[in-house]
């Protein structure tokens, strides 16, 4: 670990993250504010359509915050994986011409997503206060759950970015998977809306569904369906965690194997 976070690597990571942030909102008037405005505007649209028009989530207390938290966590996952996916190819000039540890590129692009997530969490806290959400002791679990999402996204990022070097269609495939994932994850609708318990269980096997539901349960309201209650303590409630660990291990192994040949394959 010490070897990985040497002085040089730290300096490089901080400089790459800085550059990323500077370049992202280059030439826009509102600049960094967009990283907050984007999820907020999406939230406003979804809130009007799903809460006001379709009257979803009437049975769940603090549904707007509940909805926003789901959107923010999903957006973090989406942003981190899509940005990392193209990052090895995008930084091709560095990889072909200088010697930097390849993982630094993925790690620094994941850090900019994390910074965005933290900014968004500030917005959520403001909404929680406005919405008079009671502070739950279980909120202490929230960082652990976010870490789980990060690890999951990191594993996928490593895998996808290495794969993208060889096969450019991974970009399109991933886009479709994300699109499907957004609807198969209970972000817009409460999970209880699905009457069939078997479907509920299948949906909750997805680490993103499990993490979002657990995050809502721990910090907003205990009236959230979580794997523990849906699976009634069965062993398969650990499947989402197994998937997360498998994605990290698989991602690391594949990335390590492929990264030797990035320079000649890009």
């Amino acid at each position: 670990m010490i070897r990985y976070l040497s002085k040089e690597n730290k300096a490089l990571i901080s400089e790459l993250v800085r550059t990323d942030f500077k370049l992202r909102y280059q030439g826009s008037v509102l600049g960094y504010a967009w990283s907050l405005l984007r999820p907020l505007l999406l939230f406003v649209i979804l809130y009007i359509v799903f809460v006001k028009f379709l009257k979803l989530g009437a049975s769940i207390p603090h549904y707007p915050v509940y909805l926003l938290l789901g959107i923010v966590i999903w957006n973090f996952f989406l942003e981190m994986t899509t940005q990392s996916l193209g990052s090895i190819v995008g930084r091709g000039d560095l990889i072909r011409k200088i010697r930097i540890p390849r993982w630094i590129i993925i790690f620094s692009s994941s850090l900019s997503a994390v910074i965005n997530l933290l900014l968004n969490m500030v917005v959520i806290i403001i909404f929680m206060i406005l919405n008079h959400v009671d502070l739950l002791v279980t909120t202490l679990w929230l960082p652990v759950i976010l870490l789980e999402v990060y690890v999951f996204a990191l594993g996928l990022s490593l895998f996808l970015s290495a794969m993208f070097v060889k096969f450019r269609d991974v970009g399109y495939i991933w886009e479709v998977i994300l699109q499907a994932g957004f609807y198969l994850t209970p972000i817009l609708y409460p999970l209880a809306l699905i009457p069939n318990v078997t479907f509920q269980k299948i949906i909750l096997l997805n680490p993103m569904a499990q993490a979002i539901q657990d995050a809502r349960w721990s910090s907003i309201t205990h009236e959230t369906l979580i794997p523990h209650t849906v699976f009634q303590g069965g062993w398969y409630m650990y499947i989402p965690f197994a998937i997360v660990i498998a994605s990290l291990a698989g991602g690391l192994l594949y990335f390590r194997k492929e990264s030797k040949y990035f320079a000649e394959n890009i």
Partner: protein, 387 residues
């Protein structure tokens, strides 16, 4: 590995797969896999290369295009991974395959300095300390807060170079950095090389320029088609290189660009097409960088193909002082009649008798028949008619 070795290369092989049809979609990969028809050509770039570079050496790697020297450099830099064999590097190594890698046109000059510094392994604090020095050296004080996209290419190179020379690694790897920039910039490069040499910095330099090799390198290596031809002192490597080049030229071209005398090799070459119009300039370059004798006089003569002596002169007669450069260009207006001609070139020492190299059958050229030239013979003399 003993302590005075900087880089040890041991039996390194490298090949690239060149697919006949690039498989960059999942579908074609699946289809080809199914058909068991993943056709590619395996191109062996380096064959079982072994050598050592000692600490404090200025080591040159030379070779013709496609000899595998750039691949070797990238392997040393850790950018490529060898198929087999090992590369041991003793100490911190910084490669310069290109100047200004990672420069971003949308960032200001200042921001790019810090980014580039980080890529070289400097922390922000260290960069802040050397920032003023970098800017001053690049002579860009007024432009640092402008975006890089508004810089001229010369300014970008200057900035990149100023950062690059700050690198304090045990081993530096340089790939023809000298190929860019104007004369003033090249002068700066030379100065830096001098500095490296005097402070016993370990440097690996890949270049085509034999003058640089001879001037700076303490040892050099010649590669050809993925093999090491020879390793040794720079001047013998330089002459090996020229021989290799000449062999290739002689093999592929019928014209007499390179002529080898018994002892020395010099190169003469036409810099324009070998068919010209009446009055056009013909330019001949003479390169004796592989002849280590001191040349005091260079003579050029033009002969007709029937053996008639058209015109001849030399640098002493023309009062041209030869500098330390070993390349000379001769230029003349071809105000001679249509026909075929060739050059003869002589290089002399102190006196006319001291002939070091004499080329009897140099490059040929022809002057075309021109409608506007109605007179006949070799020259148009000043003439008048009176009645």
């Amino acid at each position: 590995m003993s302590d005075n070795i900087a880089i040890k290369v041991d039996g390194v092989n490298k090949s690239f797969k060149l697919p006949h049809e690039k498989v960059s979609s999942v579908k074609s990969a699946v289809v080809n896999f199914y058909k068991r028809k993943r056709t590619y050509e395996k191109q062996q770039v380096l064959n079982d290369i072994s050598f050592e570079i000692k600490k404090g050496e200025f080591f040159g790697i030379v070779g013709r295009n496609g000899s595998g020297k750039s691949t070797l450099l990238k392997l040393l830099a850790g950018i490529y991974t060898p198929d087999s064999g090992q590369i041991h590097v003793n100490g911190k190594l910084t490669p310069f395959i290109e100047l200004g890698v990672g420069f971003s046109p949308e960032l200001t000059g200042r921001e790019n300095v810090f980014l580039n510094g980080a890529l070289l392994g400097f922390s922000r604090k260290e960069m802040e300390k050397m920032y003023d020095e970098i800017v001053e050296f690049a002579e860009l004080e007024r432009f640092m807060d402008q975006k890089l996209k508004n810089y001229s290419s010369g300014m970008q190179v200057r900035l990149a170079f100023s950062i690059a020379i700050q690198a304090k690694s045990d081993i530096l790897i340089l790939d023809e950095v000298l190929a860019v920039g104007d004369e003033a910039f090249q002068k700066k490069c030379i100065d830096i090389f001098e500095k490296y040499k005097s402070r016993k910095q370990t440097v690996v330099l890949v270049t085509h320029d034999m003058a640089t090799v001879k001037r700076f390198c303490s040892r050099a290596m010649l590669t050809s088609k993925g093999d090491i031809v020879s390793i040794g002192d720079p001047s013998s490597i330089a002459s090996d290189y020229t021989k290799l080049n000449n062999d290739a030229i002689n093999k592929t071209m019928a014209d007499k660009d390179a002529i080898r005398s018994d002892k020395y090799t010099i190169k003469t070459k036409l810099l324009n097409a070998n068919i010209v119009n009446y009055g056009d300039k013909v330019r001949l370059s003479i390169d004796w960088s592989d002849c280590n004798k001191s040349i005091k006089n260079v003579g050029v003569a033009i002969y007709g193909n029937a053996g008639e002596y058209i015109f001849g002169t030399n640098t002493v007669v023309d009062k041209v002082k030869l500098t330390s450069s070993t390349i000379l260009t001769y230029e003349a207006d071809m105000i001679i009649g249509a026909g075929n001609y060739h050059f003869k070139v002589g290089l002399f020492g102190e006196t006319d008798k001291d002939i070091i190299v004499f080329i009897d059958d140099g490059p040929e050229f022809s002057v075309k028949k021109d409608e506007s030239v109605q007179w006949q013979g070799l020259f148009s003399l000043n003439h008048k008619w009176r009645q």
